[in-house]
């Protein structure tokens, strides 16, 4: 048992040291209050109370079907696209309740970007993929778009690889490049928060490393919420972790603490690979 725990704990501990240096109590950007969600009859989220701090990386872990994807899709109201969904409770984003009717989902999603499990570039050129967001928000001028595209691609660590082929179709990129392009596309609308749903699960180890580095670098400017089924990844890159089980938050806390000294026995069982 001890051996196994260490398997996950090692990187987390390594990381802890570097993280502890500049640790400060951060303000929370999202705050959910008794958030409940149903798909038709089945309840997928149960009384979620979470405070997600800004400018840091929050990981969501848990076994398949526990509601991880559902939860982060609730944060930008993407979950509304499924007709049978019903929510109860509040989500406060920078103080205002985004679940209220008055709050425009489009405005919210402009502030809260999202990156998906499978890279999903549009069947357009690389340039148009990144420019898509700014364009729908009314930016038409070529020179400004050029600047935005370049900056976003640079921020997403992919500029060098694509700068000579901006007009080519994004489908020609490798999986890892596509995923970074999707991140660039998200950066182009300059969100405050970036939600990521298993962003590396479809990628090979090398691409994964690149994307992980990118995520680390983004946390200076953005608040990041990342869903992952890879506990080592959560341990490696996140500042705090929430463990979901059957639609509930079992445990939420600093990543290094949660992985080394879980308070709940179910958390322990999970990170030790007993289920999931």
């Amino acid at each position: 048992m001890a051996v196994q725990t260490q398997l996950y704990a090692v990187p987390a501990i390594e990381k802890k040291e570097s993280k502890n240096k500049n640790e400060v109590e951060k303000e929370s950007i999202f705050e959910t209050k008794s958030l409940n969600l149903w798909y038709g009859e089945t309840q997928a989220l149960k009384n979620i109370d979470l405070k997600i701090p800004e400018k840091s990386i929050t990981a969501i872990i848990g076994p398949s079907g526990c509601g991880k994807s559902t939860f982060i899709k609730t944060l930008n109201r993407m979950v509304e696209l499924i007709p049978s969904v019903q929510t109860k409770g509040d989500i406060h984003y920078k103080g205002s309740n985004i679940l209220s009717k008055d709050y425009s989902a489009e405005a919210l999603r402009t502030d809260v970007g999202m990156v998906f499990q499978k890279p999903n570039p549009f069947p357009k050129s690389i340039y148009d993929n990144v420019a898509y967001g700014p364009r729908i928000h009314g930016i038409k001028k070529k020179s400004i778009l050029d600047d935005i595209v370049e900056k976003s691609l640079k921020d997403a660590f992919i500029w060098d690889e694509v700068k000579d082929r901006l007009k080519e179709n994004a489908f020609g990129l490798s999986g890892g490049q596509q995923q970074r392009l999707c991140i660039a596309r998200c950066l182009a609308i300059e969100p405050e928060v970036i939600l990521m749903d298993e962003p590396t699960s479809a990628l090979d180890p090398i691409s994964t490393t690149k994307v992980e580095e990118l995520i680390q670098s983004l946390k200076k400017q953005y608040s990041i919420v990342i869903v992952t089924h890879n506990m080592q990844q959560a341990a490696r890159i996140s500042d705090q972790t929430a463990f979901f089980l059957n639609g509930e938050v079992v445990e939420f806390g600093k990543t290094d603490e949660l992985f080394t000294e879980p308070k709940d026995s179910r958390t322990m069982d999970y990170i030790n690979g007993r289920f999931g």
Binding site: P134, H137, D147, I148, K151, I189, E190, E192, K220
Partner: protein
């Protein structure tokens, strides 16, 4: 929080612009967003309007007809002499023509289409199927007027050289050609149905030592039967509604008969004859095409509903 400290100047500007434009355009955009589904709904409603229009035209005009000719006469009389001095308006001659041509077509298309479906789904390799299926579907893409010409100028003379008693216009030749035309319909839809039978079921049979034939006949076809039946029903509905082949090749004799060598008329051909002929609007003959068309519409409508019901039951099974 309002400014992004690290952003380059241009990007900073763009963010502002972005926000501003969103605000100013928001209300117009909202109205537009709400209008789009309403407009698109109207587009979708065109299909409903079409049905209503069809029903409305057919029924209002058919009412005129039934004010002059009784239901009983129309549906039970074997006499159809719309223009004679003592006109009579029995549907049965047209019904027998329609029925015969449909039966002949299905006798051709049913077995051949089913056999083709078995071949394509159970025997053919992927490559052969990808080659043969589109080729077969070409048959369905040939305009019916071409088939009519073919039936009249080729099939009928051919039949007459074998079987001289056949009249120059007869129901057999267009029936056969119609059958050829709907082979791909039966084959394609039946093949789809057979393809959606899970492979595990085939494996079950092969595992017991069954040959492909036994598997196809005793396992796959029974499993796909409702899909196959649905394809037959659709094909029948198509045959009932087919017009040009019979108009050209089966003649215009209003004959209540079941002799395939004779010239006879189908409901569709009757509509063509009367509407391109001498019927003056307002006469009983003129209204009769609406009564016939309404019968035709009802028949095919019921067939299509039936096919859909059967097919839906099929889909639920898996």
């Amino acid at each position: 929080m309002t400014t992004k400290n690290v952003s380059v100047n241009t990007a900073n500007l763009s963010t502002k612009q972005l926000m501003n434009e969103k605000k100013s355009a928001a209300s117009i955009k909202n109205v537009f967003e709400k209008m789009v589904p309403a407009v698109l709904f109207l587009f979708a409603a065109v299909s409903v309007l079409t049905t209503i229009a069809i029903l409305y035209t057919l029924i209002t005009e058919a009412i005129h007809f039934f004010q002059r000719v009784s239901f009983t006469e129309f549906f039970t009389s074997t006499n159809l002499k719309p223009l004679s001095q003592n006109p009579s308006f029995g549907l049965l001659p047209l019904l027998s023509g329609t029925l015969l041509s449909t039966i002949i077509a299905m006798v051709v298309a049913g077995p051949i289409g089913l056999m083709a479906a078995i071949y394509l789904s159970e025997y053919a390799s992927d490559r052969v199927r990808k080659l043969l299926k589109p080729m077969l579907e070409l048959l369905a893409g040939i305009p019916t007027i071409v088939y009519g010409f073919f039936a009249f100028t080729f099939v009928t003379p051919l039949l007459r050289s074998i079987w001289p008693e056949i009249e120059l216009t007869n129901i057999l030749s267009p029936g056969l050609v119609m059958g050829i035309m709907i082979i791909p319909m039966v084959a394609s839809l039946s093949e789809d149905a057979m393809n959606s039978v899970p492979n595990t079921m085939r494996e079950g049979a092969y595992g017991l030592g069954a040959t492909k034939l036994e598997t196809a006949i005793k396992v796959v076809i029974p499993a796909a039967i409702s899909g196959i039946v649905a394809s037959f029903v659709l094909a029948i509905s198509r045959a009932i509604g087919e017009t040009m082949i019979v108009t050209i090749a089966s003649g215009s004799t209003k004959n209540f008969s079941f002799d395939v060598t004779e010239s006879m008329q189908t409901m569709t051909a009757y509509i063509v004859e009367v509407s391109s002929g001498d019927a003056a609007a307002g006469t009983t003959v003129y209204y009769s095409i609406y009564a016939v068309a309404l019968t035709l519409f009802t028949m095919t409508f019921l067939m299509n509903l039936l096919a859909k019901k059967i097919a839906r039951r099929f889909r639920e099974e898996y």
